[in-house]
Amino acid sequence: MKKTLIPIILASLLLLTLGSSTIAVEGTTDDAIETSKKREFLQGGVEEAKIKIQEKRQEIRQHHQIVRAKIAQHHARRLEKRFGAYHQRFTAIIGKMAKRFEMMEDKGKNMDDAQVKLSEAEILLTAAKMSADQALSTFNDVDANDDYETQSELALAASDLTQDARTDFKAVLVLLKGAVKQAKQINY
């Protein structure tokens, strides 16, 4: 009985082992196919997400450019008002000074040095006006459709021109103050 049972048990065990290993191999192949399908699905999802992110980035960049252009327009409007005021005021003051110096010269006073300062101030005022006009037009050139680099270049150029104009306006002020000071010294 024992002799009969042992081979049967052994044979069954052998069959079981073989059967399970075959199923395991089949199972592994199925798993590999499923995993590869899932991987493909995931990759598709990632690609789609990447495209969406790029579209969003582009949208944000465009919005950024529109806002920058608006800021540049704000600067242009402010500078137009300020530079216009400086130019108007200095022109009026230079006119009055020229009249005053003429009167003093008529009275026999030597106004040469003061006159030189006044002429220099006039020349600088013209230069300041030119830089100011260029700065304004450069700020106005900053367009919402321009790319970031172009906008930056224009903004930088406009900013430099503004500083040039400011420097010239400040120099005009210094020269005019010096001319009046000299005139006062001559007068007393």
């Binding site: 199972g27 997400a49 103050k177």
Partner: protein, 98 residues
């Protein structure tokens, strides 16, 4: 065996979903956090600029109005006073450097 198969499938699904979540989370919030505040910041700057303009125009206008109108008086004292009152304002374009 079936149990083994099920557990393998569950493991794959969990790993895949974790991988997917990691990939999408890594990209999306980064752009939202990095870029959207940048735009909002610019928009705020734009609004502030408008408010600043309005505010500054109040004070600047006050300073600029005597600047625009110059008296007819061309005495040296008046000229000196008018030049003393003249102010060349600072200009800042930091908001365009973003």
């Amino acid at each position: 065996m079936k149990l083994k198969k099920i557990s393998l499938l569950t493991f794959t699904l969990v790993a895949a979903s974790l991988l997917f979540t990691a990939c999408t989370n890594k990209n999306q919030p980064a752009t939202q956090q990095d870029n959207i505040p940048a735009v909002q910041n610019l928009e705020n700057q734009e609004q502030n600029l408008g408010n600043q303009d309005a505010k500054q125009n109040g004070t600047t206008e006050k300073k600029l109005s005597p600047t625009i109108t110059v008296s007819e008086d061309h005495s040296l004292d008046v000229l000196e006073k008018e030049l003393k009152e003249t102010e060349i304002f600072e200009e800042d374009f930091g908001d365009l450097e973003d």
